[in-house]
């Protein structure tokens, strides 16, 4: 057993309203640069829909992820090492810019500088690749909320798989949103297809990153990732991908997409797993077993032998404690409502999803039934085959059983809590029908419905301070004592001004504690009302000091 820690995420799709706030804040933070105009580390796609890039889930075409060979081993679907090296000069299965979309801007200047004339000046769309006039025909969410209708929907690779049951009738239409980031897989096929070895999985927290100094732009990772979440920066010639906001995670903050999520649907927590078991679990023969196989590599942090092995593997005590409080563990292993996205790609993704019950409830309500009645709901989960099979294609390689179970639990929770809400006596038979106790159901309800920031994001800080201390005394500043002149790198414009200097994680927390402390030791001029000289505005006088 080789215990490793992984920062993981769960998204509750029932709560996603498709507002794209996560995408926008992510773009502002990470990809608001030239060369990555078309890149969305976080995007929200409408399902059914073609996704971004278009039809990325069609692996017959895009060749992402792994395949199991006849000998029971895994190799990248696009080919092994030798085949990849031979196609290095022109990757035959690289998405074109049109499969994402051609980035554009508008010629706003024309609105101000156009000479007076008959016609109202307009801001024409300009391609960001050529600078020439362009016609906008597609974007990262062009088919948002079923936009484009059946014509666009027919391009949905998942819908095509289940299409013999699906009739695109208006009354049977269903819609939900699927926010996607990099999956930070346990068995990342992007890393496996990188000829330079520039993509690596961080041993401490499992975040998959591209070393920008080692990437040589061979662009095999773009093909290798089945989720198409590695992008090619066409300006710098380097691959870029979602970083799980590692600078934030390292200091215990959630990713920017989670932080700004309006629906509060994201959960971040630690998962301990057995790294030695990953390769075997990813190579199980039957695709339907992959969901259970992946769950089998997760290690129970409450198990004393696991905790001991984790300590021996160098995982700090507070990380093990964080793993015990992990909401991700609860949702995946305890309540079993979270499911992986496309386990059949065999990459062991680590961003999981709670399937949406809303399409089911909506249909029930629209057909005149009580959408909250447990018996109606249980029946409907099965009867409404369209959403069920569609969800199964997304989350369990087409096996409807785990999806049905998860949806039944969510349905039971709704019905059970509704009775409590209406002041009726709690009905213990409802949780029992889905194999849960009333207490468990209550806990699950709390986690899904009212969990606070600290419960949704359980992120232990990185232990950079250890590394710093281990470097030896030479790295310490002798003036670095509390209140000493070496403290907090004061710049010419006050605390924390000046150029960015390496700040230790502990320093960040001390600074934050001090800034949010009740008793101000220094005056914040922004809060000054302009009257008098409050304490702390000037340094103490000479006579006061003695």
């Amino acid at each position: 057993m080789r215990v490793m820690a992984q920062i993981a995420m769960v998204m509750n799709l029932d709560k996603c309203i498709g507002c794209h706030t996560c995408s926008v804040t992510c773009k502002q933070a990470w990809t608001n640069r030239s060369g990555v105009e078309y890149v969305w580390f976080n995007n929200v796609e409408s399902r059914p829909g073609q996704g971004y890039p278009r039809t990325y889930q069609d692996q017959d075409r895009w060749q992402g992820g792994w395949v199991r060979t006849r000998t029971g081993r895994l190799k990248p679907r696009s080919g092994g090492r030798i085949k990849r090296l031979f196609s290095i000069f022109a990757n035959p299965i690289l998405p074109r810019i049109g499969d994402y979309y051609e980035p554009w801007t508008y010629d706003y200047e024309n609105l101000l500088t156009a000479p007076a004339g008959e016609d109202l000046p307009v801001a024409r769309p300009k391609s960001l690749l050529t600078g020439e006039d362009t016609k906008v025909t597609w974007s990262a969410n062009w088919d948002d909320s079923l936009g484009g209708g059946n014509e666009v929907l027919q391009g949905d690779p998942i819908l095509r798989k289940v299409s013999d049951q699906v009739r695109q009738e208006y009354e049977k239409a269903f819609l939900f949103f699927l926010p996607r980031i990099c999956e930070h897989c346990l068995n990342p096929s992007c890393a496996a297809s990188c000829p330079s070895g520039a993509i690596y999985k961080r041993a401490e927290d499992g975040i998959v990153l591209v070393d920008q100094d080692r990437c040589r732009g061979w662009r095999m990772c773009v093909t290798g990732c089945p989720y198409k979440k590695v992008y090619f920066n066409h300006r710098t010639g380097k691959a870029e991908k979602c970083t799980f906001c590692f600078p934030r995670i390292e200091i215990g903050q959630p990713t920017i997409c989670s932080e700004t999520c309006v629906g509060r649907l994201r959960y971040i927590g630690l998962m301990l797993y057995d790294a030695d078991a990953v390769a075997k679990a990813a190579a199980v023969e039957d695709e339907h077993d992959l969901y259970d196989a992946q769950r089998s590599v997760f290690l129970d942090p409450w198990d004393p032998t696991v905790a001991k092995a984790a300590l021996a593997a160098g995982i700090p005590e507070d990380w093990i404690a964080a793993a015990r409080r992990s909401p991700v563990w609860d949702l995946i292993m305890k309540y079993e409502v979270a499911l992986p996205l496309h386990p059949e790609y065999r990459t062991m993704p680590m961003v999981w999803y709670i399937p949406p019950l809303s399409p089911v409830v909506d249909v029930l309500r629209d057909t005149g039934h009580d959408g909250e009645d447990p018996h109606n709901l249980f029946g409907a989960v099965d009867a409404l085959r369209i959403p069920m099979e569609y969800l199964a294609e997304l989350f369990t390689a087409g096996d409807p059983a785990p999806v049905r179970e998860a949806l039944n639990r969510l349905a039971a929770m709704r019905a059970y809590q509704r009775r409590i809400n209406l002041g009726e006596k709690p009905d213990g038979s409802i949780p029992a029908a889905v194999g849960m106790t009333p207490e468990e159901m209550d806990e699950m309800y709390r986690l899904l419905a009212i969990a606070k920031y600290e419960q949704r994001y359980v992120i232990p800080s990185a232990h950079a301070e250890d590394a710093h201390r281990l470097e030896g005394l030479g790295a310490e500043c002798s003036l670095d004592y509390e209140g000493g002149p070496g403290m907090y790198q004061t710049g010419p414009f006050g605390e924390a001004s000046g150029t960015a200097v390496p700040v230790q994680v502990e320093t960040f927390h001390m600074l934050q504690d001090r800034q949010t402390a009740d008793e101000p030791r220094r005056l914040n001029l922004l809060n000054w009302d302009g009257k008098g000289t409050p304490e702390g505005m000037f340094p103490p006088r000479e006579e006061d000091r003695s």
Binding site: A90, P195, K201
Partner: protein, 239 residues
């Protein structure tokens, strides 16, 4: 003049190549990339690029065999001058033509595809001129020698001279009787070597042969310097 062309200049070029590569690797790892333009355009690239690159790899192998392996060695294993010449001309011409056609496709593509041309820097254009002339001059010298005569046996002159450079006992006399075509080709090649580290051609030095022996998934530990990192090249702050 001869001493400059066949001693000073080659050494200067090699020093610039080695020094420049070390400098570039130390200070511009971020810029060390193929700068692939495949995202913009695939249809022409998928023909042009493999033709050019595989062609140029064969040309490289041909040059190594012809220049670095002494004639006496090949004759010792029974390859006569005539046989060698036939092989060299045949493989060399095919590889050279592949390179030339591939390069023509790539340059036309670069000029005619809007986004690709927009992403072409002045450095790239200069590099294309130098690289293109080296290839053209080499082909021209070979073809001319084979059409006018029975071919030129550079293994008697150019090859020993090049090897004498590496043994640090340069023999200028060997180069005096070499036909002008070959001479110009050699000079152009050394100009190319001197430019090499400062162009996108550096990607040739990072040919990913290590991929063949590496485990598929790479694990790495966080670099020990925690907290905020200094701003990295290529990073534009959020606007």
């Amino acid at each position: 003049m001869n001493t400059f062309l066949w001693v000073v200049f080659p050494y200067l070029s090699i020093v610039v190549l080695a020094g420049g590569t070390v400098w570039r690797y130390r200070y511009d790892k971020f810029g060390w990339t193929t700068r692939s333009s495949q995202l913009y355009e695939t249809n022409y690239l998928r023909w042009g690029s493999p033709l050019f690159h595989f062609g140029v790899l064969f040309v490289l192998i041909g040059h190594i065999v012809g220049l670095l392996i002494p004639k006496s060695w090949t004759e010792a294993v029974g390859i006569t001058e005539h046989l060698y010449h036939l092989m060299a001309v045949f493989i060399g011409t095919v590889a050279g033509l592949c390179t030339l056609i591939g390069m023509a496709i790539l340059i036309l593509r670069r000029r005619l595809t809007g986004p690709v041309f927009a992403a072409t820097t002045r450095n790239d254009k200069t590099m294309y001129v130098v690289l293109g002339s080296v290839i053209l001059l080499g082909l021209w010298a070979t073809v001319k020698a084979n059409i006018t005569g029975g071919g030129y046996d550079y293994r008697e002159t150019v090859s020993p001279w090049l090897r004498s450079l590496f043994t640090l006992q340069p023999d200028v006399a060997l180069m005096t009787a070499v036909p002008a075509g070959f001479k110009i080709h050699i000079i152009a090649a050394f100009v190319l070597f001197a430019c090499w580290p400062f162009t996108r051609l550096v990607h040739a030095f990072s040919a990913p042969v290590g991929y063949l022996t590496r485990p598929y998934v790479v694990y790495r530990y966080r670099d020990p310097h925690g907290g905020l990192r200094p701003t990295r090249p290529g990073w534009e702050p959020p606007r």
